[in-house]
C-alpha cells in the first residue's frame, strides 16, 4: 500500500525558491508564467492496514510544519 503526500508552503507565505524559478523561466523566454510555487512530494510505502488517518498524524507530527506548510494526501 502506498501514500503520496504533497507538502506546499501555505498561501501568503513567501516562496523565494518558487520566485527564483519563475525569474529563471522568464529569462529563458517562457513569458506566460505568472507564478511558481515549489513544494515537496513524499512517497510512503505502508504496511497493510495503514489508514489515511495514520498518514494525517504523520503529516501533523513531522512531514509538514503546519505553521508554514499545508499538505494533501493521496492514498494509492
Amino acid at each position: 500500500m502506498k501514500a503520496r503526500v504533497h507538502v506546499m508552503l501555505k498561501n501568503g507565505v513567501l516562496d523565494p525558491q518558487g520566485e527564483a524559478v519563475r525569474h529563471a523561466l522568464g529569462a529563458l523566454g517562457f513569458d506566460k508564467v505568472e507564478g511558481v510555487r515549489q513544494g515537496k512530494v513524499i512517497d510512503l510505502d505502508l504496511a497493510e492496514g495503514a489508514t489515511e488517518a495514520d498518514v494525517t498524524a504523520m503529516c501533523e507530527k513531522l512531514l509538514a510544519n503546519t505553521v508554514i506548510e499545508s499538505y494533501s494526501i493521496e492514498m494509492q
Binding site: L14, P16, Q17, A20, L62, L63, N65, V67, I68
Partner: protein, 222 residues
C-alpha cells in the same frame, strides 16, 4: 551554575556555545541527542547552531523529534531556561517551544557576516546586560533565517515585548525584522545571530558576551 549543551549529529557550534557558557562561569556538560534526560540540576540548556541531521526534511525537524528534545521541551515547560542559536532556534520553533518558523532567506543565499542588531527589549535574563535600543554587531551564518509567523503571532510578540533582537538592515526577509524572540515566560530565547561567536576578543568582537555574562547567577534549575 550548570549549563547543558545539546549535541546533534551535524551540530557545529556546540563547542563555541560551551566556551561562551564556561567563560561566564558555568559548568558545562555536553548532552548527546540520544540521551533521554538532562543532567541533574541543569540551570540552562543551550541548543547550538549547525545542521542537525543534515537539515533533512526541514531545518530542525528531525532534531525536534529526538529523545533529548523531549527532555528539553519538558525542561522548558517546567519553567527552565534555554537558549537556541541559529539551528537551535529552528529546532525550538519546530518543537513548538517558540512560535513561528524559519524559512529560506528571501535572497536565497547563505549569508555569513556580522550584522547590526538592535536590542529590542532589556527585559529578560538574556538581554538585561544591554539597554533597549543598543545596537550590537553579531555574526549571522545561515541559509534559512527568514523568520515567519502569522500576523496575529507577530502582533502578540510585539505587544508582549517578546521580540529580543531586530535586524538594523534586514538581511534575510524576516517579518518585522525579527532576529530573536522570547517565550511567553521570557525564559527561552531563540535567535538566528550567534552571540557565542562574538564573545571573545579573538572573535573580532565581544558584543555578544553580555548575553552569557547576564545569565550568570540569574538562572536557576527548574
Amino acid at each position: 551554575m550548570k549549563a547543558a549543551v545539546v549535541v546533534f549529529p551535524g551540530s557545529n557550534c556546540d563547542r563555541d556555545l560551551a566556551v561562551a557558557f564556561e567563560q561566564a562561569g558555568f559548568d558545562v556538560s555536553m548532552v548527546w541527542h540520544k540521551d533521554s534526560a538532562l543532567p541533574e540540576g541543569v540551570d540552562i540548556v543551550g541548543v547550538p547552531g549547525g545542521f542537525s541531521y543534515g537539515d533533512y526534511l526541514r531545518c530542525g525537524a528531525i532534531a525536534a523529534q529526538s529523545p533529548i528534545c523531549k527532555a528539553v521541551i519538558e525542561h522548558a515547560e517546567r519553567g527552565g531556561y534555554a537558549i537556541g542559536v541559529c539551528n537551535g532556534f529552528q529546532i525550538l520553533t519546530e518543537t513548538g517551544v517558540l512560535p513561528g518558523a524559519l524559512l529560506r532567506n528571501a535572497g536565497l543565499k547563505y549569508i555569513c557576516r556580522t550584522v547590526n542588531l538592535k536590542v529590542a527589549t532589556a527585559d529578560s535574563v538574556f538581554t538585561q546586560g544591554y539597554n533597549a535600543g543598543d545596537v550590537i554587531g553579531v555574526p549571522i551564518a545561515h541559509h534559512d533565517g527568514n523568520y515567519f509567523a502569522d500576523a496575529d503571532t507577530v502582533k502578540a510578540l510585539q505587544d508582549q515585548d517578546r521580540v529580543a533582537f531586530t535586524y538594523e538592515d534586514n538581511p534575510n526577509g524576516s517579518v518585522a525584522d525579527i532576529a530573536g524572540i522570547l517565550s511567553d515566560n521570557r525564559r527561552v530565547l531563540g535567535m538566528m545571530p550567534h552571540p557565542e561567536r562574538a564573545a571573545d576578543e579573538g572573535h573580532g568582537g565581544t558584543d555578544g558576551a553580555a548575553v552569557f555574562r547576564a545569565l550568570a547567577g540569574m538562572v536557576t534549575a527548574a
